[in-house]
């Protein structure tokens, strides 16, 4: 149920009523994918924009869906693509073999997430198994004659080598343009292969919004999710992204445990059995509502699993919000209020103590929007002002409610929406001169080289829930204490921009200049 319509019935919603309610919600767009397993792009389905720069107030006022001005830039830099999320995430499902139907360059990114795999597994006391992936290594010959045969061979061989439960097949720009019929290959080899083969259609050029890749990844998993034989009462499925590790999960389990709700995490670092049985739960939610948007609706539509999608539970207010929404799914509103009161009484004084050290500072928040808004809420509780916040894409669907909440609680702030676009970041660093940047891997290195100390929020950072808030607030105080490294290196860094760039409007390249594509198709 949408978070901003929380004043509904106090009873747990029956799944049928729930499905109906969602069917009527035209604003979520059509769920039915175009082809068998091709999810609609976020742009098509939610009117997601990937290019915006301006104040939060303005964003809320109007710049909205189907606004082609906010779909492109006449200058752009490289960022994420649709193929990334299926590739990286499916590699983190236990016992899966990933087959990248692509040249060898696409899956090279998996080499870069070995560290995350290690962190993820160690924190869950799982053995550190290597990530298994095979590239079909598309060559010049293959792009002329087709790569389907090689793909079939790779699948059969993957099954033989590792006897996995699951094989995910990831498509690429090259396989998409040459028109290899991946579905047909999968159907043809499935009888010879014990593993369930799940193709994920995610050509890198499909969408400018990286979350379309999340949709492709999660929706494809529905192929192996079975009809529930029995229901697990008081059990919630929580979609958790790669960037939120076990200690954060433990905090959520602790809180929901107090009101008798059990948690089934989904889908990373999970055994195949847990994926198959995902429909047995009696409710579903998410730690990243940007990631799970399509999947939760599809799961509900198919198996009647009621869900809620509150913003990320960071800081007291958003954790309260998240817990209240989740408890309502199970009719435990009264019980959760007791937990919230207890926790707040315990945590608030600790945060207030930290607040004395950091109050009045200005920061740059650098994440995808679902996390940015959560972190901003915690910052407000610490008396820290947000100068700029970022998102890789924006849709009212998950952005509006938290931004409205934040804008009521704080001064106006700048919002940069872009599938990265580092030239805008560096311009904003120079103009806004934040005291620190709070960000993920994407932003942090660039901030350091521009002389801005950082508080990193990486997969092993503890920041979710009440105890997470205290832990993360302490991280922030440390970053403010010793900025030496950033100051030292920035003096010696020459960024690749003309000096004149820093005095210009950071968002001047946003918008369609009319020559962005041939054939005049600029929507």
């Amino acid at each position: 149920m949408p978070v901003n319509e929380s004043e509904t019935t106090q009873e747990p919603v029956s799944s049928e009523a729930h499905a109906k309610e969602h069917a009527s919600q035209a604003r979520h767009g059509k769920l039915k994918p175009k082809g068998l397993d091709i999810v609609p792009t976020r742009e098509e389905r939610l009117g997601t924009i990937i290019a915006y720069g301006g104040s939060c107030q303005e964003l809320l006022k109007g710049c909205n869906r189907k606004c082609s001005k906010h779909q492109e830039r006449s200058f752009s830099q490289s960022g994420p693509c649709d193929e990334m999320m299926p590739l990286l995430n499916s590699a983190m499902i236990n016992g899966n073999v990933v087959i990248a139907h692509s040249p060898a360059g696409c899956p090279s990114m998996i080499d870069a997430v070995y560290l995350l795999n290690k962190i993820g597994r160690l924190s869950r006391s799982q053995p550190i198994e290597p990530l298994r992936f095979i590239s079909t290594n598309l060559s010049e010959n293959d792009v002329v004659f087709g790569g389907a045969t090689e793909l079939g061979k790779a699948i059969v061989e993957a099954d033989k080598r590792y006897n996995p439960h699951l094989i995910t097949v990831i498509t690429s720009c090259a396989s998409g343009i040459i028109g290899d019929n991946v579905e047909a290959v999968v159907n043809a080899v499935q009888p010879q292969v014990k593993a369930a083969i799940v193709p994920m259609r995610c050509e890198g050029f499909r969408s400018g919004a990286v979350a379309t890749g999340y949709d492709a990844f999660l929706y494809a998993l529905l192929r192996v999710i079975q009809k529930p034989e029995k229901k697990r009462e008081n059990t919630i499925l929580i979609v958790d992204p790669l960037t939120i590790d076990r200690k954060n999960e433990v905090e959520i389990e602790r809180l929901l445990g107090k009101v008798g709700i059990n948690v089934q995490w989904f889908p990373l670092f999970q055994d195949f059995e847990n994926i198959k049985r995902a429909s047995e739960v009696t409710g579903a939610t998410t730690l990243c509502n940007l990631m799970s948007n399509f999947f939760l609706r599809a799961l509900d539509e198919r198996y009647g699993v009621p869900f809620t999608e509150p913003p990320m539970p960071v800081g007291i207010e958003y954790t309260n919000w998240w817990l209240r929404d989740v408890a309502k799914l199970f009719g435990k509103q009264d019980e959760i209020e007791k937990v919230i009161a207890e926790e707040e009484a315990r945590i608030r004084p600790k945060l207030d103590e930290i607040k004395k050290q950091v109050e009045g500072r200005r920061v740059y928040v650098g994440f995808n929007l679902a996390r940015s808004v959560g972190v901003q809420s915690l910052l407000l509780e610490l008396g820290i002002e947000t100068a700029v916040t970022t998102g890789f894409e924006y849709s009212d669907d998950y952005g509006q409610a938290p931004l409205e909440n934040l804008s009521k609680r704080s001064k106006n702030f700048l919002v940069q929406i872009g599938n990265f676009q580092q030239f805008e970041w560096t311009n904003l660093f120079h103009k806004e001169k934040p005291d620190i940047l709070i960000g993920g891997q994407e932003h942090s290195g660039w901030a350091l080289r521009d002389g801005i100390p950082v508080t990193t929020l990486l997969p092993d950072t503890f920041y979710i829930g009440y105890d997470g808030a205290v832990s993360f607030a302490k991280d922030i105080t440390k970053s403010l204490r010793n900025p030496s490294f950033a100051k030292n290196i920035a003096k010696r860094v020459k960024q690749p921009y003309k000096e004149s760039w820093y005095s210009q409007d950071p968002f001047k390249y946003i918008g369609d200049t009319g020559i962005g594509s041939d054939g005049g198709d600029n929507q």
Binding site: S78, C106, D111, Y114, I134, D142, I177, G516, D518, D521
Partner: protein, 430 residues
């Protein structure tokens, strides 16, 4: 090509971006899908000793970010617009357009779009490097050849004892800076000046590269087409000598001296001094050798460069036993015989098995058969080595379980470093 488990390199576009990241004030303009520039740099930085390299790499790399409509209607206008805006905002000496799979498959005419910018203040050059054209080594070659073809000026005269080096691919050899620096140090010692080294070259050096008397290709597989182009177009001869480690370096210096007609006595004096220092340290290592290395057998999984260099160094200098050498850079069929020959230039008739294989599973099937004590491979091999009860010493791509900055294993000093690191790995693994 056949499918490959855990490929040991990226794609042609990755190789091109790797070359560009080694050049001072060079900015790539990626004409490809939205993720290529980021994925490849992310992979090649983190999975390559966590090195942030390049002037405008990763998220800073300008990119047309080809979307579906460009695939349907063509991406040429978008490329034109992107080059124009890049010239407007970015400060660079070289703008290097490199194209990926989408551009190659939809048939965008990159050449004629780039041609329109011929008169721009700073040079705009291009190379067609669609990922499907081959691996990183192939892409490095394609882009280097384009760079030389489009930027190097004809030289009126040659400069005595001036050389260019190429063949060390930054993203494939995590130790590229250290390795190149040691070679440059030694060449300087014997009186040779290095113009292009492959480590942070600039536009001036590139323009005057044809003044070199000799090109040295530090690889048996990579950089050869560029050396040929230099020979045909600019009359610069070349010497092919794969990156040396240990006393092999003496052979390298003698070959260079011969090719340039240097004073033999001076060169021999330098070799003697360097070898003396090298052996002084190895003598100090002899007690550790007793504990750690006597009679050890080793396998290598690496590109042809390190495959040759490590095999020779460990066999000829350290007295170890080579068993299986897996060469992973897919050299052209015509080069394989020569590469195998170089690997087998070993004392005492030592003769390892040499395979050309990139598929990780097949490589480890072979390794499991001969149960070596040591495996010189990549971070990918750590778990497998553990299973086979061998020690993994990481030297080849991908290298994501160590950080690498200045160190290298080439030459004499690099060899000493390698022995130090090997000893440490062996001691900490006990």
């Amino acid at each position: 090509m056949s499918f490959t488990e855990e490929p040991r390199s990226t794609c042609a576009l990755g190789g091109a971006l790797s070359l560009i990241s080694s050049i001072q004030r060079a900015v790539p303009i990626v004409h490809a899908g939205p993720g290529c520039g980021f994925t490849l740099t992310f992979g090649q930085n983190i999975a390559n000793g966590y090195q942030y390299i390049g002037y405008a790499s990763g998220f800073a790399a300008p990119s047309t970010n080809t979307l579906e409509k460009h695939v349907v209607f063509g991406g040429e206008n978008r490329l034109r617009e992107q080059i124009r805006t890049t010239l407007e905002i970015m400060d660079a000496d070289i703008f290097f357009v490199v194209s990926g799979c989408t551009a190659g498959l939809i048939g965008d005419d990159v050449r004629s779009i780039v041609e329109e910018f011929r008169r721009s203040e700073k040079p705009v050059i291009f190379s067609e490097t669609s990922g499907f054209k081959g691996n990183t080594y192939r892409g490095y070659d394609l882009a280097l050849r384009s760079l030389v073809d489009q930027l190097v000026l004809p030289a009126e005269k040659k400069t005595k004892n001036l050389v260019n080096l190429f063949g060390v691919v930054p993203s494939q050899n995590a130790f590229w800076q250290g390795d190149i620096n040691e070679i440059v140090r030694l060449l300087n010692r014997i009186g040779v000046q290095v113009n292009l080294s492959g480590n942070r070259d600039n536009i001036e050096k590139i323009r005057r590269a044809a003044e070199a008397e000799l090109n040295i290709v530090l690889s048996a597989n990579t950089g050869l087409s560029t050396a040929e182009l230099f020979k045909d177009k600019y009359q610069v001869q070349y010497l092919k000598y794969p990156l040396p480690i240990g006393t092999e370096t003496s052979g390298f210096l003698r070959k260079v001296a011969e090719a340039l007609g240097l004073d033999k006595e001076r060169v021999e004096k330098v070799i003697q001094e360097e070898e003396e220092e090298f052996w002084k340290y190895l003598i100090q290592f002899s007690e550790a050798y007793v504990f750690l290395l006597v009679n050890k057998e080793f396998d290598v999984i690496s590109d042809s460069n390190y495959a040759i260099a490590i095999s020779k160094f460990l066999s000829n200098d350290l007295g170890l036993f080579p068993k299986l050498i897996a060469v992973t850079d897919s050299p052209d069929e015509s080069l394989r015989c020569e590469i195998e020959g170089r690997i087998k230039e070993l004392n005492y008739n030592l003769s390892p098995k040499v395979i050309f294989e990139e598929d990780n599973y097949k490589i480890w099937e072979e390794i499991a058969k001969d149960a070596p004590n040591l495996v010189f491979g990549s971070s990918l091999d750590r778990q497998s080595a553990k299973k086979e009860k061998a020690l993994l010493f990481p030297v080849s791509y991908p290298l994501f379980d160590q950080t690498v900055l200045s160190k290298g294993y080439s030459g004499y000093r690099g060899a000493v470093r390698l022995v130090e690191d090997l000893g440490t790995e062996l001691l900490t693994s006990i």
